[in-house]
Point group: C2
Chain length 229, copies 2
Amino acid sequence: MKKSAPKLSSDYTTRDRLLDAAERLFGLRGYDGVGMRMLAEEAGVNLGAATYHFGSKDALYIETFLRRFRTMNAKRLRLLRQAEEEAGANPLPVCKIVDCMIRPLFQSGLEHPSFQLLLARNLFMPPAFLHEAIRKELEPNIMEFHTALLRSLPGMPDNLLHLRTMFGMGALLVFSVQMDRMPLARDATFNENVLKEMVHFISAGLQSVSPPSLEEWLPVPFPPDFERR
Amino acid sequence: MKKSAPKLSSDYTTRDRLLDAAERLFGLRGYDGVGMRMLAEEAGVNLGAATYHFGSKDALYIETFLRRFRTMNAKRLRLLRQAEEEAGANPLPVCKIVDCMIRPLFQSGLEHPSFQLLLARNLFMPPAFLHEAIRKELEPNIMEFHTALLRSLPGMPDNLLHLRTMFGMGALLVFSVQMDRMPLARDATFNENVLKEMVHFISAGLQSVSPPSLEEWLPVPFPPDFERR
DNA sequence: GTCTATAACCTGATAGAC
DNA sequence: GTCTATCAGGTTATAGAC
């Protein structure tokens, strides 16, 4: 018998219980793999109360995702801007930009392991009804990082950078899915080393000299949208 | 015997129709996102006939996946062994090994776009009932490529190579999901250049000099298994 | 092998008492 | 805000006629 009450304080509302339960279950089994009844049971609340607080399953899913995704993206931009300010007029080292990009995601994985699965799921193959929310939340972020990278990689074609950034995101996402099986969160300096290794891998790919010509490449949208329903 | 004859109506059996429909729909919407009724309708066959031919939804899903996954992996190994034979006693260049690893996957994406989505899905976050089949099919493959890479990257710690290979797989998977939106399959030399760029990105990361020490790293299983049901 | 009918259960959503 | 009861429709799987 498993009791699901992460925070035992008295202001742990039905709403919060539901969001936490949804984070766990949606992350583990995906949108279609979990029903409202299962969510209500996991949260220890009534089924009727569940639909009352969010109106629909879709709305609950969206809110569950955005709750942490928003703050994570804000932190990303904050780190980048801060680094740029400190660097003054000089372009940032590529590995510094990549660090700002993935550090908040890495940290989020340590603090909220079950959200990490949901995040990876939604950036890899988001349900269609979530796609617009992701785009809106992620686009300004992507643009600012893209600009910063272009400044530090003079001569790199726009499209090639898009492609390589996509590769880097892939490395990050697969890592995210595996994070909770790794011996992390034990030793802070060890964690830092793993993060550095990932930053290093991605930076090496971004900075490498391209072998072929890809002049007719088209921009790659990310993440993709799929048909559903 | 009966090679895949996707549209020739004469021996395009109910079984094959179902597999093709399952490939499309499962790839697009995932295991939980598609019902047997939907599959039967898409395949243009009766619902009763659907369960008759495979016994269960799980079995249909597994067979749909393995049908192409098996031949893809065989081709991977064949390319690697052929390259090793040609090289004689010399260790292969890393980019050559990576090429053997991802070329069949790339090609498969050109030939069977809807399978590519299913493949990416299952390597990224496979349903639990599929995990054993994947492991059994993929493990010998991974081991042989891992050995080849170690030979070409002397001094690289086992665990670090596992980690970096995981990064590379991530790059590949995200690319797979986006393939059908790219201007590929038009010009063969263009396709080849895109493939080379991916090989190049991954090889750069694999070969790069590591910044921190990760001596206590543990082997990373891939792909992950999740609880379901 | 193919089809219909149906069993047994789960789905999201809602109406209305408390 | 929380609960019960219920809706209309979905799910997989099976039994048995053709």
